[in-house]
């Protein structure tokens, strides 16, 4: 028997840190960063199957492999006070990485795409967000040259408790 599918319909997810003035300026004065698109349900429950399609436009970069994974992370924020002011230091530690897809694009390709699915284990923790501490889930797309990561994009999803 296959895992149930999320009730939320799939849509193009918004990456963390996408857009904004800095993104626009980088595209204007230099080589634009790779552009990724992930279409998936924005929310799903523990025990459900996440299905997604993805596409990465990486231009002339020498990308030899691309991985797509669902990653659960612990996120802890710490306020650091100094004479110059208060800054927030964020520590992030993945506790679960579920591989969804992996591709080795052709040497002269400038884009890659794919699809995949993964079941979120019922035995792990749902998303939870506080002012300082958080359990965050994201679909992470990583482009690499051999073992060296060139670019990483994270697309947040909400993981809900078992129904």
């Amino acid at each position: 028997m296959s895992a149930p599918r999320p009730s939320a319909p799939p849509r193009a997810l918004r990456p963390i840190g996408s857009g904004g003035f800095a993104h626009w300026l980088r595209g204007l004065v230099g080589r634009a960063p790779p552009k990724a698109e992930v279409v998936a349900p924005p929310a799903l429950r523990l025990g459900e199957q996440l299905e997604l399609t993805w596409r990465l436009d990486y231009g002339a970069r020498d990308v030899t492999n691309i991985s797509v994974a669902l990653v659960g992370s612990e996120v802890a924020r710490q306020r650091i006070s100094a004479r110059t002011g208060i800054s927030i230091v964020t520590d992030r530690r993945p506790f679960l990485t579920l591989e969804i897809d992996r591709r080795m694009p052709d040497r002269d390709a400038r884009t890659a795409d794919g699809r995949g699915a993964v079941v979120v284990p019922a035995s792990t923790v749902p998303s939870i967000g506080g002012r300082l501490n958080e359990i965050a889930w994201a679909i992470v797309v990583e482009a690499a040259h051999q073992a060296t990561p060139l670019w990483t994009g994270a697309f947040p999803v909400i993981v809900l408790p078992v129904a």
Binding site: E74, R77, Q78, S123, V125, P126, I128, R131, N133
Partner: protein, 124 residues
């Protein structure tokens, strides 16, 4: 009312402290004070403890009406479906049930595990 003259005790049925999400929790609250407290309540809360501090939320608050100076009162409550108790390398989520005397906020507390199977989830 001085803290020294106040005793508060919170006991859960069969001494159980680990539960499934959504489970029913039964117990007994016992208190003894020189004069009747202004109020008594049960406070169900969770907190995520991390390096930079904790996030705290009261999930439910149950008033125990018309408290006498000394009393033993049975209660039951239903746990919410989430969040789950977990222990990670950076964060830990702990549930607590407190018996709180008002207005002084003196407390008796029991830590709970709320997770599927009644087992804390280890994030490795």
């Amino acid at each position: 009312m001085t803290a020294a003259a106040l005793t508060l005790e919170l006991t859960l049925e069969q001494g159980r402290t680990a539960f499934e999400p959504g489970a029913r929790v039964a117990g007994v609250a016992v208190w003894s004070t020189p004069i009747p407290p202004r109020g008594m309540e049960l406070r169900l809360s969770w907190a995520i403890h991390g390096r930079g501090g904790r996030d705290y939320k009261i999930a439910d608050s149950i008033a125990l009406p018309d408290p006498a100076a000394a009393e033993r009162r049975a209660f039951f409550l239903t746990l919410p479906p989430a969040p789950y108790s977990f222990r990670g390398k950076m964060l830990t989520l702990v549930w607590s049930l407190e018996l709180v005397a008002l207005p002084g906020e003196e407390k008796a507390r029991v830590d709970l595990v709320v997770a599927p199977g009644g087992k804390i989830i280890e994030l490795r």
